[in-house]
Amino acid sequence: MKRFDTTVTSIRPVAEGCFELRFDWPDDAGVPAPGRFFTIKAGGRYDPVLRRPFAFSGYAPPVAGERDGEAAFIFQVRGRGTEFLAALKPGDPLDVLGPLGRGFGKPPRGTRPMLVAGGIGMGPMLYLAAALGADAKAGLCEAPMLVIGVRSAGFIPDVELPAGTVICTDDGSSGFHGTVTEWLAGFDPGLPPVFYACGPAPMMAAVDRLAEVRSAPFEAALEQWMACGVGACAGCAVALKSGRYIKTCVDGPVYDGRLVDWGAAL
């Protein structure tokens, strides 16, 4: 974990209101593993005050004597922080703190990794899909399956999707007409599934129910407002079904989705 000033290497639109931004990742900062995140100071001197958290959507390690490490994320423009990011150009400075939090665990042998992405939850799932895809090629796990849910075709990210990726659209403008969970309900993964998901709370709640029915593990990437990002402020609390709170930034963002109280104010 480190706070550092780095440089934007590229930025491009990848879907309606969404961009992919890449930047130099210093070698000594730590490993930006799938599911982990970082925060950016996105704005002027005084405003906004809170750094904005984003999950890695990819990482290319440095090649000695050739190029630096490069991290990537996909973001949706929502407010003044992401408007600021959308206006960045290659070469612009970027103030980054990371890598932070816990990433995804490895799927046990003999299970089917089912990766479910909704909306801005896309980035971390794409990165996880790539990582598990490589693991599967190396025979370390079964081939992962990526299921993406978006409102309509315009929101499908213009990035290289793993072969076999399932697209679900709410309006039927592309792929399966319906939600990811509707699609999942009708799908037989062949092997006992392990669910990995990142997306809006209602989707996560649906995956939770599905995981319960199938007695499957569920690794959920959580989202919550953050202040410190390092466990110091207790601001990023997410309620568990037990009534306890966890800190998203250090206990998560990847946490056992079966324990999370998805009904609470997430």
Binding site: P48, A227, C233, G235
Partner: protein, 336 residues
């Protein structure tokens, strides 16, 4: 008073600069602290901040029992500021002593425990238990807490309550031999009392009256200010963003309010005032020191930039060199 006494072994301080701050029997190595609730118990920021170089670390509030904190969401973003409603989330007195204090004892900076409660007895219980522990150099009393006996109105809004609470707590703090971390922060004497610092709420009509009440109750110093009450409503969900409705406003937005209140409080009492509220760079800190504070705390700015406290320290030092000021306490005399 000489430069050498303040320099610590690190040799960062030029011979003539004396950055030490005296708060009662306590000596801090420099005027820059990190504010309660924004720095946890220090360990969370170990990778990012050289904690030993800070003047003081004010812990997250400690209450007698563990508190889970308020429902989520607990944070909201505001123009040049933020709201929080963490709600005194903390592991409780026993866990604090068992799990947090050992690591804090090893710090070279002044460790000041922020104390909170819902009743006067809550505060006393924490204080009594901590008096039996070493490695703590002072107490900061958070009087912005809702007083259960007064229908939830904060202790800190009524001079009578403030004076009484302060007096009870002051009476509980005894003179003691200094050891370990305490001794490092106390270069004046082998014995002393841990200063009781009362942290004022800005949500009052007359901060001077509250400051005087705390002084009358025997407070050794004041911290000023805690957060302002604020609310953000999400017009999409039509609910307050914070689950609790309202919360505490902090950050650069409140800096002018903090400076005005420190000016008012420090000119109303003769005990030292520690200034905070929206400090994000050395200029901000110097505004507080000119307004009458003897030391400052950095809170929300740490979230934006973890290096802020030590950069501020460097900036204060540069200012003193530029202005030819040897003792940090003399900065306030420059105000015209």
């Amino acid at each position: 008073m000489s430069g050498t006494s303040s320099g610590t072994a690190r040799g960062m301080v030029p011979a003539k600069l004396d950055l030490t701050v005296r708060i009662g029997d306590l000596v801090m190595q420099n005027p820059v602290g990190v504010a309660s609730g924004t720095f946890g118990y220090g360990e969370e920021y170990e990778d990012l901040v050289d904690i030993d170089c800070l003047g003081a670390l004010y812990t997250k509030a400690v209450t007698p029992e563990p508190r889970p904190g308020n429902p989520a969401p607990r944070l909201a973003d505001t123009p040049a500021g933020m709201l929080n409603s963490i709600g005194l989330a903390n592991p409780g007195l026993d866990a604090f002593i068992a799990d947090k204090l050992p690591r804090l004892r090893a710090r070279r900076c002044a460790v000041i425990v922020n104390v909170a409660g819902g009743t006067e007895d809550d505060y006393l219980r924490v204080l009594d238990a901590l008096e039996a522990q070493d490695g703590i150099v002072g107490y900061e009393i958070n009087i912005s807490c809702p007083n259960v006996a007064h229908g939830g109105l904060s202790f800190g809004t009524d001079p009578v309550q403030v004076e009484r609470l302060t007096r009870r707590l002051v009476d509980a703090v005894g003179s003691r031999a200094m050891a370990g971390a305490e001794a490092r922060c106390d270069r004046l004497a082998g014995r002393g009392r841990r200063p009781l610092i009362v942290k004022l709420s800005p949500n009052v009509t007359d901060i001077a009256a509250i400051a005087k009440a705390a002084e009358a109750g025997g407070a050794v110093a004041l911290s000023c200010i805690n957060t302002l009450v604020g609310m953000v409503i999400d017009i999409k969900t039509k609910r307050p963003v914070l689950a609790m409705g309202s919360g505490g406003l902090s950050g650069p937005a409140i800096r002018p309010v903090g400076v005005a209140m420190v000016y008012k409080a420090s000119h109303a009492v003769s005990i030292p005032v520690i200034g905070l509220g929206g400090i994000s760079d050395a200029d901000d800190a110097l505004q507080y020191l000119l307004a009458g504070a003897v030391a400052i705390q950095v809170g929300t700015a740490i979230f934006s930039r973890p290096e802020a406290p030590l950069e501020i320290l460097a900036g204060i030092r540069e200012f003193m060199e530029r202005e030819g000021i040897e003792q940090v306490a003399d900065i306030r005399k420059l105000l015209r």
